[in-house]
Symmetry: C2
DNA sequence: CTGTTTTTGTGAAATAAGGTACAATATCGC
DNA sequence: GCGATATTGTACCTTATTTCACAAAAACAG
């Protein structure tokens, strides 16, 4: 059997590109074009689709609407997923204000912060004190939280999230969380992403000398 | 030969953890502890280090200062790297305000935006009109830019960055940039990261039923 | 209707990444 | 100084992921 994790990630990228194509009025797409748009090879696209039983027509390419329907099924994007955000600071605010999540079937429905000065409405999203976290998560059946608090308190807040019932955390603070295995944590470390890019820029410049 | 890309990325993580340990007063570290802090296995740590000729002492672990020196050498972190940011909107602003980059040897020295209302100082970082981009990049020898403009103009702005001399771009807008091969582009797509996390949360819940 | 072109679907090969196990060796307690 | 113990360094194995290459099918042109 084929590896799995990486394909799933690419499906999200394909989905985004396919919707773009659809908006532009296209109804069919070739593996080569989709690959280019998503930043992968054509063979990769075909193999990924074949893995999930998505088929096109030789010489005719794939039908976008079909692909999208099947991908949405695989990724279980049948409804808007409600998530919360904890830490309504600089980064948290940017995320709260971002309109792009809803287009992708996700919505930040509330934020939480320990600082009373941060409470109130941020655009459309209410910011509640931390006390409310537990009840909110339970009442609305929230499963996923975005964590944008300072590193020093991230472990602590992470634990509170878990005890409130959160099952998945998108963590922006630059530390590794120690949480029960059942909780799924994704990390986005922007400093390291930048550092990594810098490394390859240095590298490529050394090559060309 | 061992894979390469992934090791380099992990070095950055090790570096961050080692500095944390150092701050806490430790001078030595075991592969197991470092692995735990960085979120990888102990064997992985040892293998990575051995690949770069970093050695410890059997039973005595690794000396943190030594590791850091060598890692800094490998990652060429011998000076503060100056980068610029284009698109001083919600997300751009959060990044501009972030103090954490400097601690990691990187600095956003200026931002650029097409909207006159955004110009001026954002904290310590000046925001210039787009006209100034070319000159600034040339005069200060800037090599890397963070791109936080709306998706609709990202390709366009990306091209301008390249023609100004930029060699690496950290792109937050949800599109694949078509740029000359010599330019290195890293992508951070927050919506897809969140979607991906949601997928695995769904998955794990289905398993436990 | 036939030959040509294009594009899919996939087996096989290549590459990358990660895990296991254990010998080698340093340290420690006594 | 010596046996017990802990930890590294690495050879080997397993799995995951990607690329290559090409036959098969569909579409098209004439
Ligand atoms: N801003 C960025 O661009 C950026 C870049 C990389 C990483 N990060 C990371 O993201 C996180 C947030 O960064 P930021 O710049 O938004 O910081 P920030 O200080 O602006 O925001 C942090 C927010 O968390 C709140 N908070 C503090 N303690 C809390 C607690 N115990 N419970 C709930 N809320 C609490 C604060 O009130 C504040 O509103 C940090 O971990 C930072 O390292 C941020
Ligand atoms: N805000 C988020 O949390 C978030 C999340 C995911 C992705 N993104 C992506 O990041 C990018 C920025 O998002 P944002 O929320 O900060 O948007 P924003 O609208 O707040 O900021 C965009 C900024 O770019 C500037 N700009 C527009 N056209 C420009 C041009 N041609 N040249 C230079 N500057 C120009 C605008 O004046 C504005 O200041 C978008 O591509 C968005 O899809 C943002």
């Amino acid at each position: 059997m084929i590896g799995y994790r990486s394909v799933i990630l690419r499906l999200s990228h394909y989905r985004r590109c396919l919707r773009q194509f659809e908006e532009l009025g296209y109804t069919r797409v070739f593996s080569r074009n989709l690959g280019q748009a998503a930043g992968v090879s054509a063979a990769q696209v075909r193999k990924d689709f074949s893995f999930f039983g998505l088929s096109g027509r030789r010489k005719g390419g794939y039908i976008i609407a079909e692909l999208l329907e099947k991908i949405n099924q695989i990724l279980k994007k049948d409804r808007i997923e409600k998530v919360i955000l904890v830490g309504a600071g600089h980064l948290g605010n940017a995320l709260i204000k971002y309109k792009g999540f809803e287009k992708e079937g996700m919505q930040i429905v509330a934020a939480f912060d320990a600082d009373p000065a941060k409470l109130g409405k941020k655009g459309e999203v209410p910011v509640y004190p931390m006390d409310e976290l537990f009840r909110f998560v339970r009442d609305y059946g929230i499963r996923v939280a975005i964590l944008t608090v300072p590193a020093a308190v991230a472990q602590d807040v992470g634990e509170r999230l878990v005890s409130a019932g959160i099952r998945g955390i998108l963590n922006f603070s630059p530390i590794t969380l120690r949480l029960p295995e059942r909780v799924i944590v994704s990390y986005i470390n922007l400093a390291i992403e930048l550092e990594h890019l810098l490394y390859y820029v240095n590298e490529s410049q050394r090559e060309n000398r």
